[in-house]
């Protein structure tokens, strides 16, 4: 028995939505960044699966996924640096307590 591209699409959609749920509902900045990584992985999985089943010789999806990995690595590095700077400045990483601009 084998599975085709649709199974990978369903898996990627479920993974993306779990990550989206966590990114929208978590109150800790580090947890939000972790959930964004889940969403990035879902996108990469979808790209590689579709590339493998539709255009296996040009590898376009694999290259796009590789560059998404580069951008995601930069994003998580900068994001965690921001979290550390935030912790130095405010002694907290709780997103609920960053309400200085609230009217």
């Amino acid at each position: 028995m084998t599975v085709g591209p649709v199974a990978f699409m369903v898996l990627a959609a479920v993974l993306f939505c779990i990550g989206l749920f966590g990114a929208l509902s978590k109150k800790s900045a580090v947890a939000v960044l972790m959930c964004i990584e889940l969403m990035t992985n879902a996108v990469n999985l979808n790209l590689i699966a579709v590339s493998r089943f539709v255009t296996p010789d040009s590898l376009a999806g694999q290259f796009t996924a590789a560059f998404i990995m580069v951008v995601a690595a930069a994003e998580i590095g900068l994001g965690l640096a921001l979290v550390l700077a935030l912790y130095h400045a405010r002694r907290t990483v709780e997103l609920d307590r960053l309400d200085r601009l609230k009217g």
Binding site: M1, T2, V3, G4, P5, V6, A7, F8, M9, L11, A13, V14, L15, F16, C17, I18, G19, L20, F21, G22, L24, S25, K27, S28, V30, A31, M34, C35, L38, N41, N44, L45, I48, A49, R52, F53, V54, T55, P56, D57, S58, L59, Q62, F63, A65, A66, F67, M69, V70, A73, I76, G77, L78, L80, A81, V83, L84, A85, Y87, V93
Partner: protein
């Protein structure tokens, strides 16, 4: 090249991925969530292997399972003042659940409407040699831009996180 993959490793890796992702969202301890994230990254690398993307599986293991997980764990431990701070309330909101469910339903409708298309081009299994050849010919310019992006991100991260600012 077959146009499908074996079902048993797919199901095992899919359960590992979705279960780990649920544990990332649902575990109360931030350190435990970081370790579950590591497990999800490794399972996704296995799925990449299943899709004959060997090089990307290796990159996934080195970048995500190696670097990003360690970085996340470092940040978690640097921003906790006491051991007890790792335990947090569950932070689940109905609004976020509604948005995620709406996205899932929309994506599901799109997947149901999807009709498989015949593979275009030669039906060869992707391999590392063709990946490398294409990366340094057609994709050379994005590759160089990516290296500049990583350099700028590195400098920016050091500058932001540096402790000895005035």
């Amino acid at each position: 090249m077959p146009d499908s993959v074996a079902v048993v490793p797919f199901v095992v890796l899919a359960i590992a991925t979705v279960g780990g992702a649920l544990m990332v969202v649902l575990s109360r301890n931030v350190v435990h969530a970081a370790y579950w994230l590591l497990e999800v990254m490794i399972a996704v690398a296995g799925l990449f292997m299943l899709l004959s993307a060997g090089f990307l599986a290796l990159v996934q293991l080195m970048v995500y399972a190696g670097a990003v997980s360690v970085l996340v764990l470092f940040t978690v431990m640097l921003t906790l003042r006491r051991r007890e701070d790792a335990e947090r309330p569950l932070d689940l909101s109905w609004a976020a659940g509604g948005v995620a469910l709406a996205v899932l339903v929309t994506t599901g409708a799109a997947i149901v409407a999807y009709r498989p298309v015949a593979p275009r081009g030669a039906a060869v299994a992707p391999n590392v040699a063709s990946f490398g050849r294409l990366l340094f010919t057609g994709w050379a310019l994005p590759f160089e831009i990516a290296s500049v992006v990583l350099l700028i991100a590195l400098v920016g991260a050091v500058w932001w996180a540096g402790g000895d600012r005035p």
